[in-house]
Subunit: 223 residues, 3 copies
Amino acid sequence: MLQELFTPSVQHWLDLVGIFVFAISGALLAVRKNFDVFGIAVLAEVTALGGGLFRDLIIGAVPPSAFTDLGYFVTPLVAAALVFFLHPEVERTQVAVNIFDAAGLGLFCVTGTVKAYDYGLGLTASAALGLATAVGGGVLRDIIANEVPSLVRWDRDLYAVPAMVGSTIIVVAIHFDALSAFTSGAAVVTAFVLRLLAMRFHWRAPRAWHRRSSATELPEETP
Amino acid sequence: MLQELFTPSVQHWLDLVGIFVFAISGALLAVRKNFDVFGIAVLAEVTALGGGLFRDLIIGAVPPSAFTDLGYFVTPLVAAALVFFLHPEVERTQVAVNIFDAAGLGLFCVTGTVKAYDYGLGLTASAALGLATAVGGGVLRDIIANEVPSLVRWDRDLYAVPAMVGSTIIVVAIHFDALSAFTSGAAVVTAFVLRLLAMRFHWRAPRAWHRRSSATELPEETP
Amino acid sequence: MLQELFTPSVQHWLDLVGIFVFAISGALLAVRKNFDVFGIAVLAEVTALGGGLFRDLIIGAVPPSAFTDLGYFVTPLVAAALVFFLHPEVERTQVAVNIFDAAGLGLFCVTGTVKAYDYGLGLTASAALGLATAVGGGVLRDIIANEVPSLVRWDRDLYAVPAMVGSTIIVVAIHFDALSAFTSGAAVVTAFVLRLLAMRFHWRAPRAWHRRSSATELPEETP
């Protein structure tokens, strides 16, 4: 049923674009971390394919598309080569990482949710796995770079919420039998724009009550 | 055969309890690490479901129960919400993390071993996978929190041994055809109590001979 | 077809040797990091079995051989015990870690590529998975030891390239129907020797252009 509304080739094309932009984000972080050319390629591959690999292992789609579709494997290498030879000055890097990452986030939460549902998961589980597909590569990237994943840091702008919104739009569309290229595209753009807004206006998630309150009180105590 | 002695509903209930207490431990660590609300939820999910997810991927039980049973997915969120709103003062946190963690350790080494054996693994492999189920979530939790897993640190009280004992009791019971709610419960309690005792009396594992001896000699050299 | 040229027992024996030497490397790192005896065993198991486990999950060979063949599970424990009781003085450790690691790298890139091809992956994907098999355990080892994986660090001698060469020799041999104990052995030795030469002469991979040039200019600016 899904295949009719949302053709495999569109799914494939969206996947490749998501892989490319995530790979750019991973490769740029590798440059900032001063990794060598293989480190750049590894971080590009891991960031781009990690989330989808996790999804495919979970739903039992083995071997995962990352190892059966040559395009999935080669795309991150192209991105890594681009970054290796043409990467912008270091001070501009962080902004570029963030924008590409936001695009990948929007694309992957949608394609991840659709593929999970195609493999028979329930709506909630599909949305959860779509979210994991979207954030998984970035978490692996940060683990390999030996940093606390920005996903869980309180001093980073909202990251999971935009992907949750995107995944939720998709499962609601599936529930009402309204999944199409249009609703999918709307979900991608919504997640992407929400993430950009979160970065622009520094939307942040609260920490646990006690912690936050003591942190708020701290300045008042100091004088 | 196992199903008759050890009903699926008991297995399911023990799993949910183990998931809940591990999730509490993960969420409390997230509070201590100052993560935001999503970081708390992520660390609760990873700590609670990581070990079982690894087990299910290894035995080929895909999609893993974490993604087919809504209760497995929602329970960590409930634990995260509890911790978020009601978590105790920070100074009490470490003790609570440890006690909940010990309970999860005991429950998971038992349910992990039983499920691995149900899926056809040998007794040794079942015990090893039960151990991995019990400690896997905690290792993932520490990796995401960017700390050296307490599992491998020499300055932490015995952690793996209680789970090994619990898993061993189960495989011995299976071998002698004596697996029941009683023997399972005994294994859970034994592992839990051993872990509490290890923490109470600071039982520690030795380091490699050379290291340890030079560390012992150090104080004598200083005067 | 492969089975005739490259008997299962040879594959099994090479796997066990690779597992042993990787386990030695992991255990020695654990000693250097001051882990306790369980940390040594865990790091030996993870380093030795991590790459093969990843490969088996990807190709759908579940349960992975690490959990069905008792020898795969016990070998790292033997290596860990050897290191625990007999490990050399700490200052000699790094050299030993590196040589054992190089031997494991050569063996695993070959056996990983062959097994991936046996399970129906294409030539490129087989070579990539062979590479992942060879470097995966080491990356997991470094992640658990909470270090930036030496695989991606620019200040480490070439590591991925020798494994790539070994994997490539194998897929070329498969392509020309010339896979045999001889060509396999040649691939292992080539990768091993290349890695030793890379360490001996400090062959390194370049970093991204901009970074590298500014680093090169730095010394000239200082006087």
